[in-house]
Symmetry: C2
Subunit: 360 residues, 2 copies
Amino acid sequence: MAHRVINFNPGPATLPLPVLETVQRELLDYHGEGMSIMEISHRSATFDDLILEAESRVKHIMGFSDDYQVLFLQGGATAQFAAVPLNLSREGKTAAYINTGSWATKAIKEVEKLGKPFRVIASSEDDNFSYIPTDFSIGPDAAYVHITSNNTIFGTQWQEYPDTGDVPLVADMSSDLYCRRFDPHRFALIYAGAQKNAGPSGVTIVIIRKDLLERSPKNIPSILNYKLFAEKHSLYNTPNTFGVYVVNLVMKWIQDEGGIDVLEERNRKKARLVYDVLDASDFYRPHARKDSRSIMNITWRLPTEDLEKRFVAEAKERELVGLKGHRSVGGIRASIYNAMTLEGVQRLVEFMKDFEKKHG
Amino acid sequence: MAHRVINFNPGPATLPLPVLETVQRELLDYHGEGMSIMEISHRSATFDDLILEAESRVKHIMGFSDDYQVLFLQGGATAQFAAVPLNLSREGKTAAYINTGSWATKAIKEVEKLGKPFRVIASSEDDNFSYIPTDFSIGPDAAYVHITSNNTIFGTQWQEYPDTGDVPLVADMSSDLYCRRFDPHRFALIYAGAQKNAGPSGVTIVIIRKDLLERSPKNIPSILNYKLFAEKHSLYNTPNTFGVYVVNLVMKWIQDEGGIDVLEERNRKKARLVYDVLDASDFYRPHARKDSRSIMNITWRLPTEDLEKRFVAEAKERELVGLKGHRSVGGIRASIYNAMTLEGVQRLVEFMKDFEKKHG
């Protein structure tokens, strides 16, 4: 059996073991074709079946209606930071952004760089992004509202999505798509780099309400044009075929596990295990406010930086890896995406208790 | 042993078997890390070593000096069609494009779409792109000259690269980078989607002369900005980590095989085997003119479309697949990239002779 650690990396992140085993098994010969999935033409019937299956799973897991189209693009969220204003800006209207952390800030810097009208209608920068703002008004002239549903670095997550009325709601869900149920029809556009909850890096899932496709202007880079990719079912050019294949396997895994509600229950249980230790302790200090806590990324500090280093090092001795916090918060971050097992989190929690006993 | 066919797909294309075997072997546990390469952080020392190794191999195989920087980007040639004019255009100057086929045409349509000044200084469209034009003048005011080094669809290839003097020469080498030796220092920028000669789809190799990085303006989409990616050694955002890993393995395979000269000799031998059959036959009609023939993609017609269909079908019975020509030319196309073995081409040639005997 392969040696496997318990991987709390924030992304690229741990993948379901059955998915990796399938990839390994099929690697030289995909479904009897006599070639690897990497060697199959994106214009073949075989790949066409695969990408349509992946599209369908991406939609059905969350219950998106046929008013939505799924795209598999490249370039991660960074490409979407540009694609959203380039495609969705409207003459005389202003885009509204809510700033809840580093990735939201990057999205805002990109719309500014591209010279499209925007305003930041709320921000939690005043308290190092430890909470999700609830007090803001959108205004009827907004071209769209942009939020970041989960803030990987700070460990916060929207609990209730804002009601934006007729204004299209756009969400970067890179780090929490498929972690819980929500009403998909409140969104006009969702995008997610796959490398946290949905697959490897190098493929971006975009789910767009079809009426928005009419906004895409002709004079923007084709690679960022939603309409061109929608018309060709993501095959306007050669996609990351291997990435789409793995995403499809992860979507199948979600369905095999019992679907989104089963995963949500497990995710809440996993998160509760960690937060319970944090809340019962004076040694560990959680970063995110209670009302804004993420069930995907949990962030906390220890009394000293030296203890934080020791925590990471001693965790590693127990094969718990990827726990170092991002420099913007410091301390510890445990990323517990869908593919992190309950047992993995139990092992972490055990270690946290032992560490506090020893050093607290 | 896995069942493997002989794969003449134009791209995504056949990969070296030792590369696929390594990927398979390491898939659950990369170098003893206890995780898949897909699960490793792009910010880790492990991935940093990998991407620096890949960069170094990409440069050294062709002998690029330290005046050049290698980038691993996403979006294939389609993204580069936009990135080139967005980054390299200069006030008061006009880009010069040479149109040698479908991909060159797409590059031209993109510069036109983006409203950057350009002109087409030569084209072989008059004879369905069956040759590489040799009669053109660049003019001293050109921002850059753009060529497509090999035309996958039409089976033509530049034999001698044009001398552009001080004007930067830019080449889309998606389908022939690493097939033969050339003087790398005649180029200012080379780009190549990896999925033909260098790896899986979803990663683009860009090799740029460092002085050109100063041209990148600030107000273009970050994902298309060469300077931002150069400053961060391709880690401005999360790259296609798995793709970079496979590219690195393919580069290592090139080195293990004996390097570029060994591959070139083998490629010329493979191509000659096929062209010799075409030239000795009245049954097969090659598309490309003799002075413009590609050693990577060989295209030809048969007397009737019905015979062409039979050719593809009977080839498949012998496990020779991916031979159907592109609709722009029709007929047959054999893509014989680096990873296609001499034995594979011998099997094709044997079949071609048998088929001619039977149906000719």
